[in-house]
């Protein structure tokens, strides 16, 4: 008996049989590229460091200045509007398109795959190029296509990118175009997991299409919708590339979302301390939402 146990213990400690060597490269890369920078940005956020000057002192000044600065408060407001509108429409449109594509597949309609591909391709295009593409669409001269269409429909000329509020709406529309595919594919995957018999039973019980959607499908899809909402929200808070290429944060600072603001504080104003403080706030938003997400999936199923 004892010998068997010993053997087991020995085999457990054989050099080839610990997970450490398998996980070591991952741990090294993640510590170097994530853990160290996070600690560093936390430290920098409590300093008055500049990007070009080596000496600095520890202070809370960065946070205080930021939270008193009308520009930064405006950045926060812009970010929240941008995130809220983007998330609502991306998830809503994603849901509708997922339903339409799912129905198309079930009925064997031609054109379903073409539609799905069209939506997904938008997601594969690099964010900066999406920014450039939409800046061409939003061209405000008479030669601009959206401007021309707006005139045809009777809206008159629209200052797509030259008036701050309109520009924020324009940036949000471009971002919805970009992100809808991601919501769509998650929700579409969720639709594939719905139990066929439950839907069939509802149909036999005489529920019409709307009732089946709101009383059967949406409750069953709630977990998927929630996960989609969380991931899309975090992604949108982190948006940088598309806005950078489309407006650069302008006109004025009318579309300066928080990730852009961090970049400008550090690389244009060279104010490392203040930029770091803004970065820590973005990090805090990321962490809070992620925490909600983790609690949720942990409660739902856990990880084996």
């Amino acid at each position: 008996m004892e010998k068997v146990a010993e053997e087991k213990a020995a085999s457990r400690w054989r050099p080839g049989d610990t997970p450490v060597p398998w996980l070591l490269p991952l741990a090294l890369v993640l510590v170097l590229v994530f853990v160290y920078p996070i600690l560093e940005i936390l430290r920098l956020s409590f300093t008055d460091a500049s990007l070009v000057r080596p000496e600095y002192a520890y202070t809370l000044e960065s946070y205080i200045t930021l939270l008193r600065s009308p520009d930064f408060l405006s950045t926060l407001r812009i970010t929240f509007i941008f995130v809220f509108a983007s998330v609502v429409f991306q998830v809503l449109l994603g849901f509708i398109i997922a339903l339409v594509v799912d129905q198309g597949v079930r009925r064997g309609l031609r054109g379903t795959i073409v539609t799905r591909t069209a939506v997904l391709s938008a997601w594969a295009i690099p964010g900066v190029i999406i920014g450039i593409i939409w800046s061409i669409l939003y061209e405000e001269s008479a030669a601009g296509i959206l401007n021309h269409l707006a005139n045809l429909v009777g809206f008159g000329s629209i200052p797509f990118l030259s008036e701050p509020n309109t520009a924020l709406a324009s940036v949000t529309v471009a971002n919805i175009w970009r992100g809808t595919a991601f919501s769509m594919i998650l929700i579409y995957a969720g639709l594939q997991t719905l139990p066929e018999d439950v839907l069939e039973a509802a149909k036999i019980d005489g529920a019409n299409a709307w009732q089946r959607l709101t009383r059967v499908m949406i409750p069953l899809l709630a977990p998927v919708l929630f996960i989609t909402l969380i991931i899309v929200t975090i992604e949108t808070f982190n948006t940088f590339d598309m806005v950078m290429a489309l407006t650069g944060g302008g006109p004025g600072r009318g579309t300066e979302v928080i990730a852009l603001s961090i970049y400008y504080q550090i690389f244009q104003q060279l104010n490392l301390g203040r930029g770091a403080a803004a970065a820590v706030m973005l990090l805090a938003v990321n962490m809070i939402i992620t925490f909600v997400y983790l609690r949720y999936i942990e409660r739902r199923q856990g990880i084996e």
Binding site: F34, V119, A124, F240, Y263, I289
Partner: protein, 284 residues
């Protein structure tokens, strides 16, 4: 009879509604790309015509030749190809090992470690790129592909590890046991038994990492300042901002050139990408 006929009619109506929806959706998503493609083939007068011309009567394919010849875009494309190639290779190498570790071993802190990895996935690249910039400046690692690619790899590892761990979990452990009985080491077991079976999953993850690293902007934007090293994402913004000479039709042609590779991969490999995206997110 009547009921049946009305059901058929209703079915036909709803099919028509679906087709209409398809048309709207496709138009909304294809139009911006179509428009830029159309712009890329226009002559200068057509570019500024009012009202705008839908499609050039005499497509100027030379615009593409001009862009390829007179802008650094071929260099950018090559840089992107190098970065993407090594990022995919190294991400997969590190992630396969880690996913194996997480899938086939029991150990303390496994769950918290997996959760922690997921947390990294959610962090904005801007946040980590700033300290890395200072760190790299200090060590003289700015404008260095090795350090740049390490950051890329780190950015894609969390997703890839989770995805591949999920994939390995679906492969029955009996396969491992049979190999162990045959006297395989763990490395041989992974290489000869698990990898061949998981090839579709690994291909999916690889394509997704490839598409995402082609798109990546923040990391090279902050960690590179030598223009000759720019990948196509940063290069295109630079192209637009630096030269007034690059007018709309050239910029459009450059954009089409930059997205052609991803769109091609995407359309051809759609099956793999869809499965990777859905498995990665819905399960966990």
């Amino acid at each position: 009879m009547m009921a049946k006929r009305s059901r058929v009619r209703r079915r036909r109506w709803s099919d028509a509604a679906l087709y209409l929806a398809f048309a709207f959706i496709t138009l909304f998503f294809v139009f911006p790309v179509f428009w830029v493609f159309s712009m890329s083939l226009k002559s200068v007068p057509e570019l500024f015509a009012t009202p705008p011309i839908w499609f050039s009567t005499d497509p100027q394919w030379e615009n593409y030749a001009f862009v390829l010849r007179n802008t650094p875009i071929t260099g950018y494309l090559l840089n992107s190809a190098i970065i993407v190639f090594f990022t995919v290779l190294l991400t997969l190498a590190v992630a396969v090992c880690a996913a194996y570790g997480f899938s086939r071993f029991r150990f303390h802190f496994k769950k918290p470690s997996l959760m922690a990895i997921l947390v990294f996935q959610m962090i904005s690249p801007v946040v980590i790129a700033i300290p890395l910039y200072r760190f790299f400046v200090g060590l003289g690692l700015l404008n260095n592909y090795a350090s740049l690619i390490t950051v890329y790899v780190a950015a894609f590892l969390p997703f890839t590890v989770w995805f591949l761990k999920g994939y390995f979990d679906t492969i029955p452990y009996e396969l491992d046991e049979a190999a162990i009985v045959d006297g395989c080491t763990r490395m041989q077991l992974l290489w000869r038994v698990l990898l061949p079976v998981s090839l579709p999953g690994i291909v999916s993850a690889g394509i997704l990492v490839g598409v995402l690293s082609w798109s990546q902007f923040v990391i090279p934007f902050i960690l590179l300042d030598d223009r000759d090293l720019y990948p196509v994402s940063v290069g295109l913004v630079n192209l637009r901002d630096s030269a007034d000479a690059v007018t709309l039709h050239y910029l459009s042609a450059a954009s089409i050139i930059a997205i052609a590779p991803v769109i091609a991969v995407f359309v051809l490999m759609q099956r793999y990408i869809v499965s990777a995206l859905t498995a990665g997110a819905v399960k966990g």
